[in-house]
Structures are given as C-alpha cells and as structure tokens.
C-alpha cells in the first residue's frame, strides 16, 4: 500500500473514531445532561445513571483513542489543535474531570446534598464538552489563526472569545442538542415508565430541532463562511511540505466536493432524514429504530463536515498556505502503516467485546431494581 492510500485510510479512520465517540460516549453524555430534566427524584436519577454505569468508561475511550490516533497519525494537527484551542481544550478537560468522579462517588454517601451536587457536576461535565466539540468544528470550518516559523513552530494569534463567534456557537448548540437527543434515544431503550415516556417526548422534539439547525448551518456555510481550496499540486505520495502549498480562500469552496461528486449530497440528506426518522420513531415508540436513526444522523453530520473540508483538516485563516491537510500533515509512511495494522487487529476486537458488554448488561432498568440492589449500584 502506498503513502497516498495510507493517508486516505487514516483520514477515514480518524473519522471512524470520532463517529465511534459520538454514537457511544454521545449517549452517556446526553443521559447525564438530561439528569435533572428527566429524572424527577433520586430513584429516577439513579435509574438513568445506572443505564450508563457499566458503559460510560469504555465509551469514553473512543475519545481517548481519537486523541491518541491524532497524536500518532496527524501529530502536527494534534499539536496545532490542542495548543491553538488552549483554553477551550483545558475547559473541556476540566469538565471531563468531573464525570468519572460524579459517577463513581455520587451514590457512595447517602446524603441528598452530596448527591445533588454531584448530579449538577455530572450534567456540567457532560454538557460542556458536547458544546465545545461543536464550537471547535465550527471554528475549523472558518479557519483558525495560526502560522508556522521555519522550524515549524506554531504561532497562534486567536483567543477564547474569538472562538465563541455566532457560527461556531450554532455548531456548538447543534452538537450539544445532538448528544442530548442521543441520550434521550438511549433512555427509551433502557428505561421504563415515566423516564421512557419523557425521553420519547424529548427525542421527538429535539431531533427535529437538530434537523433544522443542521440545515441552517449548511445555508450559513454557503452564504456566510468562506471555504478553502488548494490551487497548487500537493505530492500526496511525498514527505509533508506543510507550508509549501498555495491555498485560496473562496466563498462557497466548502461545497466544491459536492459539486464534483453530486452523489455525496446523499450524506447530508441522510443526516436530515436520520433526525426526522428519530423524531418519528420516538413518537411511534419504536425504540431501537429511534436510537439507530439518531446514531446515523450524528455520524452523517460528522461525515458531512469531513467531506466539506476534504482534504483540509485545520485551515489557517492567518496564513492559508500553512493550512493543515490530510495529505501534508500526517505521520511518516512507516508510522501510518504500523498504526494501520494495529487498528485492523484491534478495532474489530474492541467492537466485539464492547458488543458483548452491552449484551451482558441488556434489558431495561426500573426503580425497583435500583432499590433491591442499592448497595451495589451507582
């Protein structure tokens, strides 16, 4: 396999990891964000928490793996995005700190105030990352103000407030609502009674909202956000010459790939359809279908973003020629091929034992089960 093919495969694999993160960790973050909305009393909240209790930790590893894969496969992208979005990343990190502690500690002490505080922290720890991930993608689409010096050291001129611009906030809200919606779809599958009924209502409303925001984001991207395009020839089989290409900033350029390959319009279309179906199935109480539609919609939103930006992964608004693409910001051929083999071996294994884990813990939870096992459950 040549360098070019490996680079393309790694673009796909990073996408797979991000999709894996959003459809798994997405629902546990969603459930946690809904904790105080859907759970009206301690028993109900305990049911909600225990639907995700055996899985959140494994789910979160999709995020850790995406970070690790970024480090290994696109080291310069990892460096530029994590340091460029410094405060946003650190706030995400602080929020993520709270989740393991809240889940593990909340039911360790039988005290209303103790539990209530951890519940708020759990909600905060799940909602903030969900929002910031969207904000980050919103900023990637607009370009990020960085450039390199001749030792390829990064210089970043943006700040946290600059990240919180209207388009990015729209993307952030979409991302948050997608996660919350996904959490509601999951709760339909795993709970009974009131919790299930409330989740159905929430999902049927939220998924339509997501569809609207997604379309709105697309229109905004077309009319109000300039895209990037490479006008020189990148040697896709050669060493990275990250700063040597020529890049133009053009209105509508983020739609070039759809113009070249109209079949790709199916992807955003499936995103919208996924949301609409999720709403419909939630109303019809077809729970499995609702969850699958929600997962499909989330995946398609990510793929839509990836295709729009292809081959860019982190465009530079300060120095467009220094933009990072999936052709010229990758690891060496050796590392990409080793990591490809590792991924081929382990990703199927991971999917297999994760599936087994869900199978072992299958079934719905109710308040009675929580009360019967009060000392062994979260």
């Amino acid at each position: 396999m040549d360098y070019e093919a490996l680079r393309f495969i790694w673009w796909l694999l990073i996408g797979v990891l991000l999709i894996g993160f959003s459809v798994t960790d997405g629902f546990d973050m969603g459930v946690a964000a809904l904790l105080k909305v859907v759970g009206k009393n301690n028993d109900e909240r305990r049911v909600m928490i225990n639907t995700i209790a055996p899985h959140w930790d494994g789910n979160q590893v999709w995020l850790v793996t995406a970070g690790g894969a970024l480090f290994a496969a696109w080291p310069t992208v990892y460096a530029a995005s994590f340091s460029g979005f410094y405060l946003a990343m650190m706030l995400t990190l602080f929020a993520l700190f709270l989740r393991p502690l809240a889940l593990e500690y909340r039911s360790k002490i039988d005290n209303e105030q103790w539990r209530s505080r951890w519940d708020w922290l759990l909600t905060l720890g799940s909602a903030v990352p969900a929002l910031i991930f969207g904000v980050a993608f919103g900023n990637l689409l607009q370009g990020v103000p960085f450039q390199f010096d001749n030792l390829l050291r990064l210089d970043y001129t943006g700040n946290l407030l600059g990240l919180l611009n209207p388009f990015a906030l729209l993307a952030g809200v979409l991302s948050l609502l997608m996660f919350v919606n996904h959490g509601a779809a999951y709760l339909q599958l795993k709970s009974e009674g009131q919790i299930k009924a409330r989740s159905e209502r929430i999902a049927s409303l939220l998924s339509l909202t997501c569809a609207v925001l997604f379309v709105l984001g697309g229109v905004w991207l077309w009319l109000g956000v300039d895209g990037y395009q490479v006008v020189s020839v990148i040697d896709t089989n050669g060493a990275n010459h990250t700063t040597d290409k020529v890049v133009e900033v053009v209105s509508g350029a983020w739609f070039n790939n759809y113009g070249k390959q109209p079949l790709l319009w199916l992807v955003p279309a499936l995103g919208v359809i996924g949301f609409v179906l999720c709403s419909l199935f939630s109303r019809l109480t077809w729970h499995v279908s609702a969850f699958v539609s929600s997962a499909l919609a989330m995946a398609m939103v990510l793929v839509t973003t990836g295709i729009s930006m292809f081959p860019f992964v982190m465009p530079s608004s300060l120095m467009p020629n220094h933009s990072l693409t999936m052709w010229d910001a990758t690891a060496s051929e050796t590392t990409l091929s080793i990591m490809f083999v590792v991924a081929c071996v382990f990703v199927p294994l991971i999917l297999a034992y994760t599936a087994w884990g869900y199978f072992v813990m299958r079934g719905r939870l109710n308040e009675q089960q929580i009360r019967d096992n009060t000392h062994s459950m979260y």
């Binding site: 209790a53 055996p54 793996t65 530029a80 990064l154 990591m339 590792v342 991971i350 884990g357």
Partner: protein, 518 residues
Amino acid sequence: MDIVDLSRMQFALTAMIHFLFVPLTLGMAFLLAIMESVYVMTGKQIYRDMTQFWGKLFGINFALGVTTGLAMEFQFGTNWAYYSHYVGDIFGAPLAIEALMAFFLESTLFGLFFFGWERMSKVKHLAVTWLMAIATNLSALWILIANGWMQYPIGSEFNIETMRMEMTSFAEVLLNPVAQVKFVHTVSAGYVTGAIFMLAISSWYLLKGRDLPFARRSFAIASAFGLAGVLSVIVLGDESGYEAGEVQQVKLAAIEAEWETQEAPAAFTLFGLPNEETQHTDYAVKIPAVLGLIATRSLDEQVPGLREIKENNLKRIVRGQQAYDLMQRIRAGDKSATTLEAFNAVRDDLGFGLLLSGYTDDVLNASPEEIAAAVEATVPKVWPLFWSFRVMVGCGMLMLLLFACAFWHSARRTPDKPKWLLKFAIFSLPLPWIACETGWFVAEYGRQPWAIGEILPTHLAVSSLSVSEVWFTLISIAVLYTIFVIIEVWLMTKYARKGPSSLHTGRYDLETTHVQEA
C-alpha cells in the same frame, strides 16, 4: 516565571498526582484477580466478599486515575505542541496503541467487573477480572515504551524535510532496553503499592480485633504478593542501574554525585552532602567498587563522572552549532549536495545546537559564556537527584523488611500477629507512594535539560501560549486536584473504616450498629 517553567510545573503536578492512583490500580487489579480465583476454586463466599470489598476501594481509586489520566493525554498537545510535532511520529504510536490494545479493554471490563456479578457465570466474571488486570498492566507497558523512548530515543532519525524525528524501526522502539526494564520495575512497584494498601488496612482490622477471618486472609494474600513484588522491584531497580550505566550516564553520575571519573571499579556513595559550588560531596560515606559493579557489571570499566561528561558535551555543542546553522540553510532552500552531506555528518548533534539556541540568539556565533552556560545545563542539579534516589531506595528496603516479616508470620500461620508487626504495616502505608514519586522524580528530573534525550531540549518543546493562560490553567488544576484528592482520601478512609460491612451482607462486624448508607 516563563512559559517553560510554568508548563513544566503543570506537567510535573499532573504527572505526580496521576501517579498517586496508577500504582494502586496496577497492584489492586491483580490482587482482585487472585482473590476471585480463590473464590472460584474453593467456592468460599468470604473470598467473593473480599473481592467485592477491596473492589470498592479499587473503584474509588480508579475514578481519579481515569480523571487525572485524561489530563496527561491532553497536555502533550496543549502545552507541548512543538514536542508533539517534533516526535509525535514515534511517541504518538505507543500512546495510540495503548488506547486500542489496553485502555479500551480495561475500561470496558471495569464496568462489567462491578455490574456483571449477577449477570455472568463465576468463571466468566473471573475471566473479566483477570483480563482487566492484564489490560491495566498492558496499558503501563505502552506508556513506559513511550517514556523509555524519551529517555533513550532509538529506532528513529531526524528528517530535515519534515523538520521532525521519524520512526525508522518500530521493533527498536518496542524492545528499547530502558523501556523493558522500566516496565517491570514500575508495575512491580504497583504490586507493592497494592499489597501495602491491603496489608495496612487488614492490619488495622487485626489490631482492632474486628473482622478477623476476613482480615487474616487479606493479610496473607497481601504479604505473599507484596514480597514477590518488592523483590522484583529491587532486582529490576538494580537492572535499571545497569541500563543507566550503559545509556543514561548523566543521570547515573548525578544520582551518585560522581563529580569526577573514578578509577574502575568506582565506589558507591552511600550518603554525603553534594555541594554544587565546590563540585564535591562533603562527608561522603563510600562503599568501594559497588557503583562500578552495578553500572558496568565489571571491575575494569569506568563510570564517567560529571566533569568528563561536560567536556564531551562541549564538543557536541560545537558540532551542534554547525548542525543548527546547516539546518537553517537547508530550510531556507539550499538543497545542494555539499550542504546536505555536511549536515548529515553532524546531524546527530543537532539537539545540542537546539539546546544552545536557548542561551543565545545567534547559535553559530555564540559567545564562550553562552556556550559555557549551555554546557553547564547539560547536567541536571545533583542534590535533588542524589537525595530523592536515596529516599526511594530507603523506602524500598523498609518495605522489603516489612514484607519479609509479614510473610514469615503468615506462612507460620500464627493466628495472632505480633502488635509491632501490625503497627509497622499500618505506618508503612505511605512508603510505596513516597518511593514511586521520588523514583519518577529521579527518572524525569534526571532527563533534564532534555524533553527527548539529547534530541529535543525542554525549552524548545513548549507551545506558544501566553504566561497568563498557563498560570490560569496551572492554578485551576492545582485547586481542582486538591479538592479531588481530599474527597478521594476522605471516601477511601470512610470505606476502609466501614470495612466489609459496607457490602451489607449481614456477615460482618459493625453491621447491627451500622447507620444505613448507600
């Protein structure tokens, strides 16, 4: 303080706090697997209760291990961006493999360990516990392969086109002798930590005369496991001394305060007061020949002293100046064969040129004072290394004594352990943590001034951030971690005091008087 100091402080803080939780996870995971194996083999309920009770404490600890572990992964990118770019091609791979091979498995099984008791057969659950234990250790293996490469970067070379280090041999990175020795030394330290934790708490129950059958069994398992662990730590610690003698001579010389090269075989300085000013160790108590034996496994090879190392580094800095200059010319577009050839001849010393760039604006024409300052910097401060190393070894020896006594008494099956032994065990509780932290301090402070040994100096590895941003995150992390650690220790103490009664099985002491808590 500048951005480099602040970033280093933040990294040191997050790494050292993270490592309060990691060794306990490493050790407890295997102890849980052992206890559950006894349960499955004998069918005795008490071993299941032991697995569940110690499992609760394991869970409280694991949550903070995960939390503080996230910070480690984020920080290479957030605070060490040039590092990530410069060595990500090699360093990123073991981290990504760790996630794919180990962390996924460990985290998925963590949930099943706690919530799967009633949903799986005994044997399946036991398999889950064993795999979780193996996965935590595999996780340590990959992290230490990455860390070993920072100490001794083999299997890679500099690529001027991409301006970074690139992997040339994955096998060399994997089989790095420093990493292999470190792995066994570190996981064994984890086993000792887990064992002391269980031993100390069981001793406390024994001393109080409560939950005796439960505590005796826990004591016996911990003492056997701990003795094996502590022996392995010490043997492998000696092995690291040998590896350091081979490949990390600066660190070894600093640990030993070996200012001058001694006649072979070198004497080992047991104690003394290293004096930076006079480059001499005052009041040194020496044991002849021992250092030479540890470091070279021979009687006639010399162990180079700090002065000799600095003299050698001066030569490398001079070559590094040329490498740096040639690199700049090539980056500016001069791709002629002669320039490339000249660069390749001095390429291995580029790191020393980069190091010098922290002391001057004009590397090629650096003044003698600037060069001298860079030479001085190639050797870390002696006394912190000298002392932390001795604290680590002292703790190790005390723990060896403890486990030897504990094992002796549990092997003799004396029903009542002597009080002094129980107290010794209780007061030994902090020892493994002190040893782990000082050990890591020796490893990482001893690597300075390099982020990647002799390749990338620490001052160049940082991100371009503002001082106020890093102050903000440093203080936030310090505050958050302090709160987390207080909560964790409080919860841990609370559950340790409750003991197995916290399982609410009705079989243990304190249960009738116990206030109902979740």
